[in-house]
């Protein structure tokens, strides 16, 4: 009893340390975003919203934020649609080379981002589609569709295979079954996938930087600012990007978890 309690305390401290290690840089970045001094030093200067005001006054950043929003929303929709189709084809059909098919689909996230980004740039410029906002959307959809597929596939695997047949048996055509059975069943996973892919797209930097041309997204703008000089504006943008992403991820997780526990509620 005594031993397990001390073990629990040690494990507790360990967990706190891991979280501290992961989140300390972000917390510092947030703190410095409200610091009046230009350089991130301790002791801190006064509390200030100067950097936020500067960020809000900068039309380039507004444009980048708009771009990021468009890209992440479009990517989420496209990637989730693609992911759903792939997951469903895996669930429903058996065909030759299915293993290879699934492996190929799950491949993109395993390719180093820089290679992926270069390949995307080379390919998109070859077919005259680089440097546009939709170039980023295409690249991000490729990158995030596997996540969508993984999340939705997990959900489909929990489905009683008789459910589809039961729907046909009660007079629903294949399309009606898709609409009234498969999609409602997958709804939590679909939302989870939308938030997750949006989050990945929203703070993805490497691929965006290569294929975006003049249509920078927020992470690209941050790098451009940092390259020039030390500017606490990046802390302000960073805080915003982080909060957006973490909100999306938490929402994704909530949908994911709620379906595990209650699962059945629509």
């Amino acid at each position: 009893m005594k031993q397990s309690r001390s073990l629990n305390i040690i494990l507790g401290i360990y967990v706190v340390l891991v979280f501290a290690f992961v989140f300390a840089p972000i917390v510092f970045s947030m703190i410095f975003s409200f610091n009046s001094q230009r350089f991130p030093t301790i002791p801190l200067g006064e509390f200030s919203t100067e950097w936020y005001e500067k960020v809000l006054a900068d039309p380039d950043i507004w444009k980048a934020a708009r771009n990021s929003l468009i890209v992440s929303c479009s990517t989420a929709l496209i990637a989730t649609f693609l992911g759903f189709c792939t997951a469903y084809s895996d669930f429903r059909y058996n065909f030759r080379f299915k293993g290879a098919y699934l492996a190929l689909i799950l491949l993109p996230p395993t390719i180093p981002l820089i290679i992926m980004a270069l390949a995307m740039l080379a390919w998109l410029s070859k077919i005259g589609m680089s440097g546009q906002l939709y170039s980023i959307i295409i690249a991000h959809s490729v990158l995030t569709a596997p996540f969508a597929m993984a999340v939705i596939r997990l959900r489909l695997n929990q489905m009683d295979p008789d459910l589809e047949s039961a729907s046909w048996n009660l007079g629903a055509s294949e399309w009606q079954t898709m609409r009234h059975v498969i999609i409602p069943f997958c709804k939590p996973a679909i939302f989870s996938s939308l938030f997750l892919t949006a989050a990945v797209s929203f703070d993805e930097f490497a691929v965006s930087w290569f294929v975006s041309g003049l249509n920078s997204t927020l992470p690209v703008v941050v790098l451009e600012i940092v390259q020039g000089n030390i500017d606490p504006q990046v802390n302000a943008i960073g805080t915003f990007v982080f909060l957006t992403s973490i909100t999306l991820v938490v929402l994704a997780q909530l949908f994911f978890a709620s379906r595990q526990m209650k699962g059945m509620q629509s």
């Binding site: 009683d160 009660l170 009606q176 059975v181 409602p184 059945m264 509620q265």
Partner: protein
């Protein structure tokens, strides 16, 4: 004789190299309660799925109301199925589940609700209409599944081992619910099961299937008293099966010489030829026991191996000198007149008319 509702005409089903159904030729009569019974893998569920259109026959045709159904997709058929897994929609409430089929058929909202409520009420689960499926008990889910199929007001209801997931006491109650419903609605029930007690308790007729073929079609009594072949006799159980050579045929009785002795059996319609192999069965409940050797007739001297009690009935397992197993089923109060212990030796006897000769299978 009522007209056939469904006809299976030389139906076969192959999955690649695997033959699930070798050949089926039978009719389902309008308004009957038909059970299809067999061990797992005998093709009974495949047969039901073909009737629902979820599998297409590889050979032969299935007719429903004289219409060839082979190429009719499942959603255009009116053959609702109650699934072994129940297959209720987990994201819908009990009432929404029952309304599902009507909604797909384009029935308007008010009528849908009215009909769903009527069936939920009939099944005694109206109070749960707005509950989600996951919050219902096994028996309640069972009733939702039945209501979901019956609300379609079909001519024929298919049931695929619907009671296999329920506790024993619920099974008995649901059996009564099902037979009452079938009698009240007058629609045809096709009930697939591996359980003899379910099939015999509910069905008007039973089809015994084995290895993709029909072993026998008949009323529960016919199958119990007069199994057509060795497979059926063994599957039905509680039968004593004896095999030997035909020694002599004399009118409508024959004498069969088995390792356990010579026995007289009625030939019924089976053609027996002197010197050929033949086997026959005697239901365990038609065998009498005695401590003294009976005078003449069919008898065997056996050692008691064990007893098995099921309520007021008891089954004795015995063995003769050749090691052949015999079973005797009797009332417990009848048995208590004898003071028997395992290892005791007693005489078994039965009337000639109790024996039933099997067809070659």
């Amino acid at each position: 004789m009522t007209k056939p509702l469904v006809v299976f005409n030389k139906v076969q089903k192959h999955f690649d190299d695997f033959v699930a159904v070798k050949e089926l030729d039978f009719e389902i009569r309008e308004g009957e309660f038909l059970a299809i019974m067999g061990p797992s893998g005998c093709g009974k569920t495949t047969t039901l799925r073909m009737l629902a259109g979820l599998e297409a026959p590889s050979v032969g045709e299935i007719r429903l109301n004289d219409r060839v159904m082979n190429d009719v997709p499942p959603h255009e058929r009116d053959t609702p199925l109650v699934w072994q897994s129940l297959a209720l929609f987990p994201f819908l409430t009990a009432r929404e589940n029952v309304e599902f089929g009507l909604k797909m058929r384009g029935v308007d909202k008010a009528e849908r609700k009215e009909r769903a409520i009527k069936w939920l009420d009939k099944m005694g689960i109206l109070e749960f209409e707005n509950r989600h499926i996951s919050t219902l008990s096994g028996g309640q889910k069972q009733r939702v599944a039945l209501a979901r199929s019956l609300v379609m007001e079909p001519q024929i209801l298919l049931l695929d081992e619907p009671l296999s997931a329920l506790d024993a006491h619920l099974v008995i109650r649901m059996q009564a619910v099902l037979t009452d419903l079938q009698r009240e609605l007058g629609i045809t029930f096709v009930y697939v099961t591996h359980s003899q007690s379910e099939a015999f308790a509910m069905a008007d007729r039973v089809i015994i299937m084995g290895k993709g073929e029909i072993g026998q079609i008949g009323t529960p009594k016919e199958i119990y008293r007069a199994p057509a072949n060795q497979f059926v006799a063994e599957f039905v159980g509680r039968n004593n099966i004896l095999a030997g050579k035909v020694k002599s045929v004399d009118g409508d009785t024959a004498c069969i010489a088995t390792p356990s002795g010579e026995f007289t059996v009625p030939t019924n319609e089976v053609q027996l030829t002197q010197g050929h192999e033949a086997s026959f069965v005697i239901s365990a409940d038609l065998v009498h026991i005695a401590l003294e050797e009976p005078d003449g007739g069919n008898r065997a001297y056996c050692k008691l191996i064990s007893e098995e009690f099921v309520g007021s009935m008891v089954t004795l397992f015995l063995e003769d000198a050749q090691g052949h197993e015999f079973k005797v089923q009797m009332q417990e109060r009848e048995l208590s007149n004898f003071d028997l212990h395992s290892g005791d030796e007693i005489w078994l006897s039965w009337d000639t008319q109790s024996a039933h000769v099997l067809n070659e299978s």
